[in-house]
Each structure stands twice: as structure tokens, then as C-alpha cells.
């Protein structure tokens, strides 16, 4: 019995049993992420009003493990009709040709030239657009001005270069009043979302030093190049040899770092624009600044482009309705409403909502941001990378040796995929 006839039989059995409500005509299954729930409900109501006869069934997923959930849903043969995903996941979903090309559909709502080019590139594989990007962001350096003052540093002059970063971090590492230990720079090395969090915070150092994980044609790994190793060394040294990162580093991802930052355990860390809202809510008196990421002297800073978009799986049951919803969403004002950081179109970027001067450093970083390589095995590749960063942090290998090991693992992944 071949797999497909088996599948047909099961599907028939399922239909006969009708154990649960399957997709009805005119019903669009829309998956969003948990933080987007309220706004998605608002948009869904608006859409349903404009399009009588179409109902939207909304499901909100938390970030944890979302990538895998979507992958399985897309592979299951009965995916939802439209899904909110991180743009960097799109290539791996498209690796099996599971996604619908949505370039033309989006183009009917908004000229593609209005998009910030990198955001469309992040949703594209082989020149075709498989997602509607609505959110774009890059990390910037957040620092505690009060702790700068306490350490006799000028709070208006955050470190600009790698050397200054090391020097400032050292000065910010000491035992404060009440015996509380303070650390200069909190790097990510683990935590609930360790892999992605660590990638976003360490890969830019490799990039700004001229290194990379994959070669430009994505055919081989270049992680053991001296430039890449130096970037990794700069990042991991903060914890292993300089000890300016807290002992809990291997437990810390973005969320944990924010806690430590608010508690005054760390004076600097890399954060997203969403952190500002959290500070306003949880610690309104926090005295902090936002700076661009320090770079090697004489080189440009860099960032990993983060962003979210909507995809339409090929196997979705209500394609026409899904495309209609996509067109509805692809208006600059709706993209601007839905984004939790920055929007993806130039028109939307000029809205007053994004004019806060605190956001300037984030905007600047966005200009230097590059998307992740559009390769189907990226998740596995970045997992090999992450594992070896951790290997350095736990003292199991030197940056050189660890990156050589990662290099080997990535070559094996690339070979398997071809």
C-alpha cells in the first residue's frame, strides 16, 4: 500500500466519521501569534464586515515552539489557510514547495516598491515572494544610564567599537551596594528560546567582522574562517574569559536578560523595540538609553533582520478566501497597525506612531540589517551553530575548535540536503 492511497483511505475514514468540524467553505483558518491576538481579532471583525459570507476562525499560538508547530501543520496536509510566521522560517517551509507564491496578490494591494527591500527579500526564495512581511526589526544595545553614572561613565556616550565595549563592560562589572553583583554586558547563551535569541545576538558580530556562516552561494560553510571565529570569540569572551557576563549566561535568552537588566544585574544587553513597551509597563522609572551595536574599529555595524509575515500554504482548503484576507491585510495602514515593532513599508514607516526618538537607534540598526540566508535547512544549520556556541560557553572547546566542529556539522547538513 503506497503512502498516498493510505492517506486517501484515512482521509475518507475521517470524513465518514466527521469526528470534528473540518474546514467549511467560506471559513478562513487564520493562525496568529499570541501577542497579536487582540489586533487580529479587530482586523478579522473588520474583514468579516467587508466580506459577508466569509468567516474567520482565529487561532493564537505562543512563540514557544511555534516554528515546529507551523512546519508540522504545513506538512500535515490540512494546514490552516493563512499563518503568521517569522520570515526566516519561510525557506524551510518552502523547501518542499508547500507555500503559495503571493507576490502578485500583494502587488494588487500595495506597490511592491513601497516595501523596504530587505523585508521582501527575507520572504523570498529563488526570487519568488512566499510571504507578506508586516513587521521588521533589528536589535540595538540597551544600557542603564544610572549604572553608567554609578561606574563614573558618561551615560550619553555608549561604547562605539569592540574595544570600547570591552573596556566599558569591565568597568560596569563590580559588586554594587548591598553586595549585589553587577555585570557589564548580558549575552544570550540559553534560556527558553535560546537558539534564536543567541543567533540574533551573536551572528551580527561575525557579519560586522566580515565573516559568515554560509558562503554567498550557500553551498558551503565558512564558519571556521578567521573573521567568523574572531566574531564568536568577541561574543563568548564576554562570559568565558572577561567574565563581564553573569554566571547565569547559559540560562539567559532575551526574556531572562530583560529581567536581569531591570533588576540591575546587567548594565547592557541587546534588545528589540518591544522591550521599550515592557519597560514602560513593568519599570516606568528605568533610566536607560538605546545605542547602535558596537563594531570593530573601521568597520560597519550589522544586525540580523528580524521580522514576521503571513504565509499561505498550498494545501489550504480555502485559497480564494485566504488570498482575499491577504489582500485586505496588505494595506500599509493595516500592516502598521498589526506590527509590534516597525512596519515593512516606507509609507507606514512615516506614520507618527514610529517617530519616537527612543526608536532612532533601532531604526538605524534596521538600515544595517540583513536577512538570514534563504535555505531550507537553516534551522538545522543554526542549531549546529548554537550548540557549538554553547560548547564554547561551557568551556568545552575554544572558539576555533567549536567553529571547526560546527563547520563540519553544517557541511554534513548541506550534503544531506543535496
Amino acid at each position: 500500500m503506497t503512502k498516498s492511497t493510505f492517506k486517501v483511505r484515512l482521509a475518507t475514514a475521517a470524513a465518514a466519521l466527521m469526528l470534528s468540524a473540518s474546514a467549511h467553505a467560506g471559513e478562513v483558518n487564520w493562525w496568529v501569534s499570541e501577542p497579536g491576538r487582540a489586533k487580529a481579532q479587530q482586523l478579522a471583525a473588520e474583514f468579516e464586515k467587508e466580506n459577508p459570507g466569509i468567516t474567520i476562525k482565529l487561532q493564537a499560538n505562543p512563540y514557544g515552539g511555534l516554528e515546529g508547530k507551523v512546519m508540522i501543520a504545513v506538512k500535515s496536509g490540512i494546514p490552516p489557510d493563512i499563518i503568521e510566521v517569522q520570515n526566516s522560517w519561510i525557506p524551510s517551509y518552502q523547501a518542499t514547495g508547500a507555500l503559495e507564491d503571493v507576490g502578485a496578490t500583494i502587488g494588487q494591494s500595495v506597490p511592491l516598491s513601497d516595501f523596504v527591500p530587505a523585508t521582501l527579500a527575507a520572504c523570498s526564495v529563488d526570487g519568488k515572494i512566499y510571504g507578506l512581511p508586516f513587521q521588521a526589526e533589528a536589535l540595538a544595545m540597551l544600557y542603564r544610564k544610572d549604572l553608567f553614572r554609578e561606574a563614573k561613565l558618561d551615560p550619553e556616550k555608549p561604547p562605539q567599537t569592540w574595544d570600547e565595549m570591552i573596556e566599558v563592560s569591565k568597568k560596569l562589572t563590580y559588586t554594587g551596594p548591598n553586595g549585589q553583583r553587577r555585570y557589564g554586558y548580558g549575552i544570550a547563551g540559553g534560556g527558553a528560546e535560546g537558539q534564536g535569541n543567541t543567533l540574533y545576538r551573536s551572528l551580527p558580530y561575525i557579519w560586522m567582522n566580515g565573516g559568515d556562516i554560509l558562503s554567498a552561494d550557500m553551498k558551503k560553510s565558512v564558519l571556521s574562517s578567521p573573521e567568523a571565529v574572531a566574531g564568536v570569540k568577541f561574543y563568548t569572551d564576554m562570559y568565558t574569559s572577561l567574565k563581564v557576563a553573569p554566571p547565569s549566561t547559559l540560562e539567559n535568552g532575551g526574556l531572562e536578560l530583560r529581567r536581569l537588566f531591570m533588576a540591575g544585574t546587567i548594565a547592557m544587553y541587546q534588545g528589540t523595540p518591544t522591550e521599550l513597551e515592557r519597560f514602560a509597563q513593568d519599570a516606568p522609572n528605568l533610566d536607560y538609553g538605546v545605542a547602535i551595536m558596537p563594531h570593530p574599529k573601521g568597520k560597519q555595524t550589522s544586525a540580523l533582520l528580524g521580522g514576521w509575515g503571513f504565509i499561505v500554504p498550498k494545501a489550504g482548503k480555502n485559497k480564494a478566501e485566504a488570498m482575499k484576507l491577504l489582500q485586505f491585510l496588505a494595506k500599509p495602514e493595516r500592516l502598521a497597525l498589526y506590527t509590534r515593532t516597525f512596519p515593512t513599508t516606507t509609507t507606514a514607516m512615516n506614520l507618527p506612531r514610529f517617530a519616537d526618538p527612543k526608536l532612532d537607534a533601532f531604526k538605524e540598526m534596521l538600515k544595517h540589517a540583513r536577512p538570514q540566508p534563504p535555505i531550507g535547512t537553516w534551522l538545522e544549520i543554526s542549531s549546529a551553530y548554537y550548540k557549538n556556541i554553547q560548547e564554547v560557553l561551557i568551556g568545552g572547546a575554544s572558539p576555533q575548535a567549536a567553529m571547526a566542529a560546527a563547520d563540519k556539522a553544517i557541511e554534513a547538513i548541506l550534503k544531506k540536503a543535496n
Binding site: 540559553g190 535560546g194 553573569p246 547565569s248 547559559l250 536581569l260 534551522l379 542549531s383 561551557i394
Partner: protein, 319 residues
């Protein structure tokens, strides 16, 4: 999960003893037999349950087997998935970790649990309430225990590091869950803490079935408490310890909650165990076929252990 397995193995044992009971008389005559078999016979009683179990157990097993020898497109690839998974560094590490975690847990659970059971069997004020409180780690959900210990183990703000450093026992905070040499022992400790009360209560039950006359006779001979433990209690407990061990093996191969919730197998796979590896291979790397191959291997190896244990135990009983 252990509780479930416990109960089952117990009743299995108890029902064995009663198997010699007379069965209801079967109806005579071909037609009568046919009707009985189809209307009032075992088929209709048993079939629904068997069908359900088959759907949710036998079907998955068969489909795992098929997936383990095919690739993502359903094409037959022979043993390739098995070769790939066996050659992977992660598998070797996860296997070692699983053996360590399950093995060390069982040994410590048996030792601590037996000791606790003996203590609980003594007479003292508040015995009933202490017995109930002792069981709490086993009764509460594993995830609750895991989260509580994770907070106590926190490197910067955990109470354990705080106490140790304020007593001057450590200078640097201990990285309980991120130091590669400490993480697995720390997780094992949590697992032992979770399960030893179960051993204690089973041992307690065993202790209460030891005839009092044995102790009385020993007392007449002037035996000390220590003598009683070594010459009466432990030998008498042996059969029940054997069945407890079986239950602990089953619980061990099924354990995932504590490690998944506390470290997810990190740092750098230092606390990865096979059940987490299957989950990760399947739902993080989407290597469903290799995950299936790993599932089959895991199933075979753990069944082997269980069967070996039952067989050894059976042989000892015969002797």
C-alpha cells in the same frame, strides 16, 4: 505515569494467583454456542476496547516501522535512517545520558526509598501526617516539581546558591543547570526526589506484610535494630523491591518532564536524553523518518531491559 504502571503490574501479579478459578460454563450446542459467542460472548465485551487500543497503539507502531525505512517522500530507503541516526553524535550522547539518568535514578531511589520506608514504619508521633507529607513530591505534577527546582537552582537568584554562599561553602555561584559536569547529576537528584516517596510507600506496604513473629523471635535472641534490618527486613523485602525496580525502569524510560522543563537537554546536549531527542528530531528538525527509526530502537532497547528484568526475577523466584 508510574502510578498507572504500578497499579497494573500489581493487579497482574494478584490476578495470576487467582487464575485457577473456575470459568463460567460454556453454552452447549452449535447454534447456542454461535449465538452466545456473538451476542453474549467475549467478543462484544472485548472488541471495543481492543479496537480502540489497536487504533492508537498498533497503528502507530506499524506506521513508525514504515516511516523508519522510508524517506520524507515515502520512498523505501532500507536501513539508511537507522544508520544515520546511529552515527549521529547526538544519539551516542543521548544514550549515555539516558543510561546514566535512569540507572543512577533507580539506584538512588531504591536506597533512599527503602531507608525512608523503614523510617516511616517506625512508631513516632505524627506518623500519619509524616507519611502523607512524604508522598507529596510523588503526587504533585512533575512539571511543578521541575519549575520549583529550576527556580531554586537559579544561578543568580536561586535559594540554593544563596544558602551555600552565605554559609561560606562556595565562592562562585554554582551553575547547577548549565555546568556540563553538574547538570545531569542535578537533574537526577530532582528525579530521585520526585520518585523516592513512591518507593518508600511501596516498601512500607511490604514491611507491614512481614510477619511480626519474625521480629519477636529476633528480639528474644537480643537482636538490635540494625540486625533486624539486615537479617529480616531487607531479605523479606526482596520480592517487592524487584517489582518496584520494574516500575522504576518503566518510569525511567518514560521520563521527560523534568529534563524538558528544566534544561530542554542543554547546554550543548549535555542533558539530552533519548525521549527528548525523539521529540527534537521530529518536531524541531522535522526528521520524522529518523525520529521514527530512533523510536523503534528506543522501543526495542527498553523492551529488552524490561523483559530481561522480568525474566531474571522469574528465575530467582523459581530457585
Amino acid at each position: 505515569m508510574s502510578d498507572a504502571a504500578t497499579a497494573m503490574v500489581q493487579t497482574e501479579a494478584s490476578s495470576k494467583a487467582r487464575r485457577a478459578q473456575p470459568e463460567a460454563a460454556a453454552p452447549r450446542g452449535r447454534l447456542a454456542r454461535y449465538l452466545a459467542a456473538h451476542k453474549d460472548g467475549p467478543t462484544f465485551f472485548i472488541l471495543p476496547a481492543i479496537a480502540l487500543l489497536a487504533t492508537f497503539i498498533i497503528y502507530p507502531i506499524i506506521s513508525t516501522l514504515i516511516m523508519s525505512v522510508t524517506n520524507g517522500n515515502g520512498v523505501f530507503v532500507g536501513a539508511q535512517n537507522y544508520i544515520d541516526i546511529i552515527e549521529s553524535d547526538r544519539t551516542a550522547r543521548a544514550t549515555m545520558n539516558t543510561v546514566y539518568f535512569v540507572g543512577a535514578s533507580i539506584i538512588l531511589q531504591l536506597i533512599l526509598g527503602t531507608a525512608a520506608g523503614i523510617v516511616l514504619n517506625e512508631q513516632f508521633r505524627g506518623q500519619a501526617i509524616v507519611r502523607a507529607l512524604t508522598l507529596i513530591p510523588w503526587v504533585i505534577p512533575g512539571i511543578v516539581g521541575a519549575m520549583t527546582w529550576a527556580w531554586m537552582f537559579h544561578t543568580d537568584y536561586g535559594v540554593i546558591n544563596y544558602v551555600l554562599s552565605s554559609w561560606g561553602l562556595i565562592d562562585e555561584p554554582v551553575r547547577w543547570l548549565t555546568n556540563p559536569t553538574i547538570v545531569l547529576p542535578a537533574l537526577t537528584a530532582v528525579n530521585v526526589w520526585k520518585m523516592f516517596p513512591f518507593v518508600a510507600i511501596m516498601v512500607l506496604a511490604g514491611l507491614q506484610s512481614i510477619p511480626v513473629s519474625l521480629y519477636e523471635a529476633a528480639k528474644v535472641d537480643g537482636a538490635t535494630f540494625r540486625d533486624e534490618v539486615i537479617y529480616i527486613t531487607l531479605p523479606q523485602l526482596r520480592p517487592i523491591l524487584a517489582s518496584i525496580t520494574l516500575l522504576l525502569i518503566i518510569a525511567g524510560v518514560n521520563s521527560i518532564t523534568i529534563i524538558y522543563a528544566m534544561t530542554k537537554g542543554g547546554p550543548a546536549d549535555r542533558s539530552l536524553i533519548t525521549s527528548i531527542q525523539i521529540f527534537v528530531e521530529a518536531f524541531q528538525y522535522f526528521n520524522f523518518n529518523q525520529a521514527s527509526a530512533l523510536s523503534v530502537l528506543f522501543f526495542l532497547v527498553s523492551t529488552l531491559f524490561i523483559v530481561a528484568h522480568i525474566w531474571l526475577d522469574g528465575r530467582r523466584k523459581e530457585r
